[in-house]
């Protein structure tokens, strides 16, 4: 299976994502520049955190129109796995690949610390290695991670089991404690916490590791390939 890590001007978690893939599943991974117009070689696309295009206007507003995003939309349509982390989550909502929007934290503070998440849906390709309702430790680092959507959308999210992670102690004011959601089909997930920063006990937590092993497991289940490491 092949991973792409998108790189926008201003991405700063791209190297962490790249190394997380190498260290957790050891599958091939490439950096892909935001001007790329072909993602057909990739099975999973990681949209990393950072401050793409300086977060000018709104987080993710400009990156959403980068040429590569047309390809991301196509890949989503094809059922490929797409994971947006932090700024990547903001980009996916701006692009309309995930519902809702991310507002400034209600505390007005940039919050950078470990958080405890509940795994609300372990049926996605990104979370099948977790137990349902398991508590996991994943760090956050954001000023605009306050998830918002209208009531109707929230109802949809709940009914379709699209809420993937919730915070135990809501750090940013997110609606319904939401930390991560998926699209209806489940192949696109966005989350504010950083699993790529939690792939080794040396980093304080290795819980993020299982997001990457989940992806590989899901891919092998659907492709029947035993590319054993």
């Amino acid at each position: 299976m092949k991973f792409a890590v998108l790189v926008f001007p201003g991405s700063n978690c791209d190297i962490d994502c790249y190394k997380a893939v190498q260290d957790t599943v050891g599958e091939p991974v490439d950096y892909v520049w935001h001007t790329a117009t072909d993602l057909s070689a990739y099975d999973c696309i990681l949209v990393p955190g950072g401050f793409s295009y300086g977060d000018y206007l709104r987080c993710g507003a400009i990156s959403r129109f980068a040429p590569v995003m047309n390809e991301v939309a196509k890949a989503a349509e094809e059922g490929k796995y797409i994971l947006g982390i932090c700024n990547g989550f903001q980009i996916l909502t701006e692009a309309g690949l995930l519902p809702g929007a991310l507002l400034r934290n209600t505390s007005m503070k940039f919050r950078c610390h470990d958080t405890v998440l509940h795994v609300v849906n372990n049926q996605t390709p990104f979370t099948n290695d977790f137990e349902l309702n398991e508590e996991i430790v994943i760090p956050i680092a954001h000023g605009e991670g306050n998830y918002y959507c209208d009531e109707e959308t929230l109802k949809d999210l709940q009914q379709n089991n699209q809420i993937v992670f919730t915070y135990k102690d809501n750090p940013n004011g997110s609606l319904a404690d939401i930390a991560g959601i998926s699209n209806k089909r489940g192949n696109v997930v966005g989350m504010m916490p950083h699993p790529e920063r939690a792939v080794s006990d040396l980093l304080g937590s290795a819980d993020g590791k299982r997001m990457f092993t989940s992806i590989l497991k899901a891919w092998r289940d659907t492709h029947g390939t035993a590319s054993v490491r």
Partner: protein, 81 residues
């Protein structure tokens, strides 16, 4: 030449933490009469066209597509010149 002025504000009902912080500062300075503060964005666009109807249509499209996130923001604009 036409000039478009675009105002983008967070929707009523959606919390504006910046506005709340500024309101708090105004209160602490003694401006108790301030009941609420909403902070938005102000943009000036110079358009190299004189076709008002066309400009109007295009600016609306710019607002919907990029300048405002209509999930959480309202916009309005003025055209002059």
């Amino acid at each position: 030449m036409l000039k478009a002025t675009v105002y983008v504000t967070i929707k009523q009902g959606v919390l504006d933490p910046q506005g709340v912080a500024v309101q708090g500062a105004l209160h602490s300075m003694g401006f108790q009469e301030v009941e609420s503060v909403r902070i938005g964005k102000y943009m000036e666009l110079s358009l190299n066209t004189d076709d008002r109807a066309e400009a109007e249509r295009r600016v609306k499209e710019m607002c919907e597509k990029l300048l405002a996130n209509t999930v959480v923001e309202d916009y309005r604009y003025e055209l002059e010149g």
